[in-house]
């Protein structure tokens, strides 16, 4: 069984990395040797040795598009859970509406899900987000699921190929936040198929030949979903 799918090299915290190169992300140097800081896979890019974690929380970066959930209201801001170690405040000046003092609840209430952008992050880990940009909005209808933020690139695929394939086969609208939260909208059977496919990608993110296996799965589950977009 194990021989069927090639597995990328997995390292554990404290494991020495043989590959040569400059220390990149997820590694540390001691006495001139490179070690992994994470349970992850080794990735060599442009002369840098990186370890991409296989799991873990989302660390916000300026410019990331994220999907967040409103968890609290204040007179001048909302508090948003963006699946990071820290909650992010969303100030009334950072939304596309004119909000009077104390009137935040009229626009976004607790439990609402939004598409936002990380506008700033400081060294203390504090995060600010904004909705003032084309396409950022409150998400309505559909369903949200969560995956490891480190597997977001696999779900999107090279040049968006994986996500496009999911959309094409199921007729769903899908938005993948950099924070690992995914919004899916469309016919219920389509949503259920997309969720299954994403779980498959998540579980096999560290293997080669994934795109073909996902395509196979989607072929099998094709059914009547085609073109049923709402």
């Amino acid at each position: 069984m194990e021989g069927k799918i090639a597995i990328r090299k997995i390292v554990v915290p404290g494991e020495e990395i043989d590959e040569k190169g400059k220390p990149g992300n997820g590694v540390f140097v001691e006495n001139g040797k490179l070690y992994s800081a994470y349970l992850g896979i080794v990735d060599i890019r442009a002369g840098y040795v990186n370890v991409i974690p296989l799991s873990g929380c989302y660390i916000p970066k300026k410019g990331d598009k994220v999907i967040g959930k409103i968890i609290d209201l204040a007179p001048m801001n909302w508090v948003v859970d963006i699946n990071a170690p820290y909650y992010a405040p969303l100030h009334v000046n950072d939304v596309p509406w004119r909000v009077d003092f104390g009137d935040t609840g009229r626009y976004l209430s607790i439990g609402d899900v939004i598409l936002a952008k990380v506008s700033n992050v400081n060294e203390l880990g504090q995060v600010w987000i904004t909705m003032k940009e084309q396409g950022l909005r409150k998400l309505e209808g559909g369903h949200v699921i969560k995956i490891s933020p480190f597997k977001v690139p696999r779900v999107i695929g090279k040049g968006g190929s994986m996500i496009q394939m999911l959309k094409d086969y199921t007729g769903c609208r899908i938005y993948v936040g950099q924070n690992g939260v995914i919004w899916i909208s469309g016919p219920p059977e389509g949503i259920i198929t997309v969720i299954k496919a994403i779980r498959m990608i998540e579980n096999e993110a560290h293997t080669y030949g994934l795109t073909d296996r996902v395509k196979e799965f989607l072929e099998e589950n094709r059914g009547e979903n085609d073109g049923n977009e709402e």
Binding site: P13, G14, E16, Y38, G56, G125, N203
Partner: protein, 245 residues
């Protein structure tokens, strides 16, 4: 420790009551990622010990006065199920559990890159489902696996292992009878790569030579236990692929 008894813990052939050699570990099994809700989790069976560990976080520490401006705090909680021991244990932490939680938290923090997550808390829950001597070292071994599984950055794994003295013989990994009727117990937690000692306790009576022999024995065994940890962590990802085949 130190309860007097007539039980012979080492036989004429130098074997222990469970048939082990003095420097032999009990059977150990490890599994990673066993719980769905937790950010990271692990299960360790070690002799008759059955121990689960789960990690939540990092997340903003609450209450706020617990926060440290420049690093994450590590909060481990060691807890024994009421049915884990012969005589039912009253639910809730006793003084022993509170002490163990503290030293385990400190040992785990020593390998974590806590400066990466200021103002947060990393919560580690160790549940002893069945106890059979050496629960703290088995628990810390499980906790280290759960931290790796949760994607927490660390400079090394942590391996727990104990050694001690029974019938005047230095032995590795005391079982329940040896723990009850032996002469000394030295629980340790070791970083397998750097061989630094992150947890060290001792109770009983040993000479300097006996103690150093015991510590060396535990440190050697830590390398073997670490190999099992690495295997368990990597197996999780191989297994996940198999499942979908």
């Amino acid at each position: 420790m130190g309860m007097k008894s007539d039980i012979k813990l080492i036989d004429d052939n130098g074997l222990r009551i469970d048939g082990r050699l003095p420097n032999q570990l009990r059977p150990i099994k490890m599994e990673v990622g066993i719980l769905k809700r937790a950010d990271g989790s692990a299960f360790v069976e070690w002799g008759g010990n059955k121990i689960m560990a789960a990690v939540y976080g990092p997340h903003e520490a609450y209450p706020k006065h617990m926060q440290e401006a420049d690093k994450a705090i590590v909060r481990a909680r060691y807890s024994m199920a009421p049915f884990s021991v012969d005589e039912r244990k009253r639910p809730g932490p006793d003084r022993r559990a509170i002490e163990l939680s503290k030293v385990i938290s400190e040992a785990l923090e020593s390998v974590i890159f806590v400066e990466k997550y200021p103002r947060t808390s990393i919560d580690v829950y160790i549940e002893v489902l069945q106890a059979d001597a050496g629960t703290r070292v088995a628990g810390i071994t499980a906790a280290s696996l759960a931290l790796a599984d949760a994607g927490i950055p660390m400079k090394d794994m942590i391996v727990g292992c104990a050694a001690g003295k029974v019938d005047d013989v230095v032995v590795l990994d005391l079982n329940k009878e040896e723990d009850n009727f032996g002469q000394a117990d030295v629980p340790m937690a070791i970083m397998p790569r750097t061989k630094e000692i992150a947890l060290l306790q001792m109770d009983g009576d040993m000479t300097y030579e006996e103690l150093t022999t015991a510590m060396e024995m535990a440190m050697d065994a830590a390398q073997k236990i670490h190999e099992m940890q690495v295997e368990a962590l990597k197996r999780k990802y191989v297994k996940e692929v198999d499942k979908n085949e």
